[in-house]
Amino acid sequence: MCTLEKRGNLFILTLTGEDRHLFNPDLISSLLKLLSQVKAQATCGSALITQAQGKFFSYGFDLDWAQAAGSEQGAVKRLQQMADLFKPVIATLLSLPMPTIAAITGHAVAAGFTLALSHDYLIMRKDRGILWMPEVDIALTLPDYINALFKEMIGDASVRRHLLLRGLKMKGDEAEKRGVVKAAYDGEAEVREASVCLAENLGKRKWHGEVYAEIRKGLYPQLSAILGLSHKVYAIARL
């Protein structure tokens, strides 16, 4: 499902296995638990990399599990359940007291894309993998916190519209050009290496984690409000 590893100052959260890493209630709970552990063990100079094994970063909510409810009403209820369970995962990432990097080596779709987008930096493969919000194609509206996430994380209105209203499948090089990801590299190893390199460089700055988190929240006020994250004023001036 997912594992947490500590490598020096780096926390590495891995979605394990070759499957689509679908977010069902179990995986969502595991993610939340591990992220809470990261938060608890954070120190000055920490950084998080979220990565996945195999061809998929994540294909989003487990629609098969939703459909297994047996009725349309039941399926809708299960979808809502997953959306509700997922919200705290995004909230935890948004308030994590350290820089965060998503190392996207496979397809990041729907809630999978959302998870990646909740990180400070996105690094992606150029040669494989897409970012995709298929909700318009499968006739699903988006929860308010996901709308807010896209609004505040992707500044370009045109890009946002293409992703959400047109269901564009965005490859690495386009994602890099349009500012959706920080950088795109050829090859899985290159992406992982670049993510570790970036995490180490950011860690070296020895930022005060709580302050970092507060500044991040200040960048995304609407999203923070919807996620129920309060704002604290810090002045621990390192003068």
């Binding site: 909700e135 318009v136 509206t141 500044g155 045109s158």
Partner: protein, 239 residues
């Protein structure tokens, strides 16, 4: 004034004006809003709307001659406020339309005409003989909400500032570079045909109209809040 044509799955809103001018007065507003209402009523899965015009002007904004022809200062203000209200209704109608919308801007668009163009999901434009001009600054007219919200929703970065705060007459290539339009074409026939083709391509995605409208509203949530329309969650998943 304007007419609505149905061609298969496409609704084609044709702006026609006397002397080639297209100025927004209560009659034209009523005409356009009725046409949009009709499209809404007759919409099905896989519908799309494209707005085209003929001649020198796409739409030149408010009919200020009509406003100023009022008997008194008070009535002048009332007429102006009426047009503002009508424009707000127009924005509302477009934002809630359950199908993708495209504006094929073949002529000049000023003030309210720019708003009309931006009400559409996608804007195509002529390379020459067509400018987008927010003349409001030069005329000393404030741009009230919700129209400011529309610009905030649809444009980003320096493009937004340049559109509103610089009194620029923005030609096709510039509009393309600024991300205000999707593409530019030479000639009225080319831009009109491109608009119809794009509408056709989007119609072929066979999107669920209500869901499409709700995703659009979620994308432009600030605008919808100001317009007083909430977006409702829909899940009729095509799983």
């Amino acid at each position: 004034m304007c007419s609505l044509e149905k061609r298969g799955n496409l609704f084609i809103l044709i702006l026609t004006g006397q002397n080639g001018e297209h100025r927004l007065n209560p009659n034209l507003f009523s005409s356009i809003i009725s046409a949009i209402s009709r499209a809404k009523v007759e919409s099905t899965r896989g519908s799309a709307l494209v707005t085209v015009s003929h001649g020198k002007f796409f739409c030149n904004g408010f009919d200020l001659d009509w406003v100023n022809a009022a008997g008194s200062d008070e009535e002048t203000q009332q007429r102006f406020n009426l047009l503002l209200d009508n424009l707000k209704q127009l924005v509302l109608a477009f934002i809630s339309l359950p199908m993708p919308t495209i504006a094929a801007v073949n002529g000049h668009a000023a003030a309210g005409g720019v708003v009309l163009a931006l009400c559409h999901d996608y804007v195509l434009m002529r390379r020459h003989r067509s400018v987008l001009y927010m003349i409001d600054l030069d005329l000393g007219i404030k741009i009230p909400e919700p129209f400011m919200a529309l610009f905030r929703a649809k444009n980003s970065g320096s493009a937004r500032r340049d559109l509103l705060l610089r009194g620029l007459k923005i030609k096709g290539e510039e509009a393309l570079k600024m991300g205000i339009v999707e593409a530019v074409y030479d000639g009225e026939e080319e831009v009109t045909n491109a608009g119809i083709k794009m509408a056709d391509d989007l119609a072929k995605r066979n999107w669920h109209g209500e869901v499409y409208a709700e995703i659009r509203k979620g994308l432009y949530s600030e605008l919808c809040d100001i317009l007083g329309i909430a977006s409702i969650p829909i899940a009729t998943p095509r799983l």
